[in-house]
């Protein structure tokens, strides 16, 4: 049975993906400035209203979905790939390699994630790719730790020992018998952290460390129009709701998926 939270979260996520991919095709140019339509309330011409430069908010929201969710997706991908790679490498590389990987993971886990992201973004300077890089720098650590623990424990598992005794080499045994289980857990743990990633990315963009204007990004949109929110409350309601829904969707999916992969256990690492 698919848990209900997974169901709701997955549909929300699909809706957001459609918004990100398809909506920009139907909506006007998100960067087109129109001084005759400044701060227009939501209506027929502009379904979600316009901002202080008369740009269509619905179009900017959809374009922002691409920026925000795209960069978060990139960080997620890095944390899954690097985590899985580092975890299995540590287990395959023998005692010394294992120790090295474990200590590096210890270090990455011991550092405050967002502070490190701020530091790297500070050294590299503002920019979307710099921000993705800065956030990826520590995002892989929890997944690597989990993959490492799982792979390490799997070496003692009866089915893996049987496979090794049947003459299957260590690499093939790893790929065929251990990796599928490890991958499922790594994906879930990486997804559990995505809600926090969305909030961090939006916050750092809000501070001006992300995409340069006029690129639409949810956190940045709110930062740019924050002085007009009393006159035009939709300028704060729309991006905040989008962030809220994205975080909610991902949390629901992650919780549901965790329940599927490993029923009954509550103590999972969170970012």
């Amino acid at each position: 049975m698919i848990p209900r939270s997974l169901h709701i979260g997955a549909w929300l996520l699909v809706a957001l993906a459609v918004l990100a991919v398809a909506a920009p095709l139907a909506l006007p140019d998100p960067d087109r400035v129109d001084y005759t339509a400044e701060l227009t309330a939501p209506g027929a011409a502009h379904p979600l209203g316009t901002d202080q430069l008369g740009r269509d908010l619905a179009a900017r929201l959809a374009a922002g979905a691409r920026t925000t969710l795209g960069s978060v997706g990139a960080v997620w991908l890095v944390s899954v790939a690097v985590g899985l790679f580092a975890g299995t490498l540590g287990a395959l590389a023998g005692r010394l390699g294992e120790q090295v990987v474990a200590r590096v993971v210890d270090l990455a886990l011991a550092l405050p994630q967002t502070v490190v992201a701020l530091a790297i973004a500070g050294a590299l300077g503002p920019g979307l790719w710099q921000l993705v890089l800065a956030m990826s720098a520590t995002a892989w650590a929890p997944t690597a730790r989990l993959a490492h623990t799982y792979v390490h424990a799997a070496r003692e598992r009866p089915d893996v020992i049987a496979a090794r005794m049947a003459g299957i080499g260590p690499v093939r045994a790893m790929c065929a018998h251990v990796l599928p289980g490890a991958a499922a857990r790594v994906v879930v743990v990486a997804t559990l952290g995505v809600g926090q990633l969305i909030l961090s990315l939006a916050a750092l963009s809000f501070l001006g460390l992300g995409a340069a204007p006029p690129t639409a990004e949810w956190g940045r949109m709110l930062a740019d129009s924050r002085h007009d929110v009393i006159a035009a409350p939709w300028l704060i309601i729309v991006p905040t709701t989008a962030i809220f829904l994205a975080v909610t969707a991902v949390s629901l999916v992650a919780d549901g998926a965790r329940e599927r992969v490993d029923p009954g256990r509550r103590a999972w690492p969170r970012f």
């Binding site: 701020l118 001006g208 709110l222």
Partner: protein, 312 residues
């Protein structure tokens, strides 16, 4: 217990040394030339290559990386983080001026977060699945998905500017910290409430709690003597972990409320490419985080005897 303290201290110092190397290495990542930046900050509008070379040599920036790191670390351990590329002043002096307001803000936020966590976790715990419990869980879920900067904008634009409560330009005082501390505390308080609720439910569902109930202990006694001590260890771990989030969140909230603290200085310095200040603040943040983590681990061991006996 002494062994535990010593082990914890040794681990923390080892991590701090490695983290120090990473913070120092930020200098290598930066797309600018430190020697040139220092000359610019000292008021030289267009340094010649010869001047840049001379400065680089004078500051020892042409030595090996290991020598440079050793020198930077020794100076940092003495509280000397070099001079700011933006203002030309010593970094330590700027930090000393900015630190008290940030400490005030974070302490008030921590207080709010504790109150929020207890207020959300405790009322519903006696009756899981009941109305109070469901409402509290909904609030926790919502509170952890709302971006703090959006709450900050609401408070600043609608309460301060719109309704005229509080001051627009923050002065860094205790009373001024009340409003900015709210958005800072919401996300953390929600996270803590989740952990507290889970821990309390586990403790109150356990057989020993049934025994205590059967022997006639009241709800308050049950909560204080049998509930809270059991949640202490996981709660302290999460509390220490949120120090990191608090420091980064302080950067957002301080910038928004123009709070004269370290967080805003960090963002200003990042914008200006002022790396020595960024390095100093990040190192300070890492130290605060590691100290909180160590304190939490030792406190948890003091409360929970199981953590004391399990020395690997």
């Amino acid at each position: 217990m002494t062994r535990l303290v010593l082990r914890g201290l040794a681990t923390t110092v080892a991590i701090l040394l490695a983290a120090g190397a990473l913070v120092w290495a930020l200098m290598l990542l930066a797309p600018v030339d430190p020697a040139r930046q220092i000359l610019l900050s000292q008021g030289d509008p267009a340094p010649t290559p010869a001047e840049v070379d001379a400065t680089r040599h004078a500051l020892g920036l042409d030595d090996g990386y290991l020598v440079q790191y050793g020198r930077w670390l020794t100076a940092a351990a003495h509280g000397d983080f070099g001079i700011s590329w933006r203002t030309g002043d010593p970094v330590a002096a700027e930090l000393a001026e900015r630190l008290p307001p940030t400490i005030r803000l974070t302490l008030v936020a921590l207080l709010f977060a504790v109150v929020l966590a207890v207020a959300l976790a405790v009322p519903g715990v006696g009756n899981p699945g009941g109305g109070t419990d469901l409402a509290a869980r909904g609030l926790v879920f919502g509170g952890s998905a709302v971006p703090s900067f959006a709450l900050g904008v609401v408070l600043l634009e609608f309460v301060v500017v719109g309704a005229g409560i509080g001051r627009v330009v923050a002065d860094g005082s205790w009373s001024g910290a009340l409003l900015p501390a709210i958005p800072l505390a919401v996300g953390i308080g929600a996270e803590w409430a989740r952990v507290l609720r889970g821990g309390l439910r586990d403790a109150l569902d356990a057989p020993h709690a049934d025994t205590a109930r059967a022997r006639g202990s009241g709800r308050l006694r049950l909560l204080l003597l049998h509930g809270f001590p059991h949640t202490a260890a996981p709660f302290l771990t999460v509390a220490a972990m949120s120090t990191g989030g608090l420091l980064a969140g302080a950067a957002v909230i301080e910038t928004l409320f123009t709070w004269p603290g370290v967080g805003r200085l960090l963002i200003t310095s990042i914008d200006a490419g002022d790396l020595p200040v960024v390095q100093a603040i990040v190192l300070l943040g890492v130290i605060a985080y590691l100290a909180a983590d160590l304190a939490a681990r030792l406190l948890a061991a003091a409360v929970d005897p199981r953590l004391r006996s399990r020395t690997r």
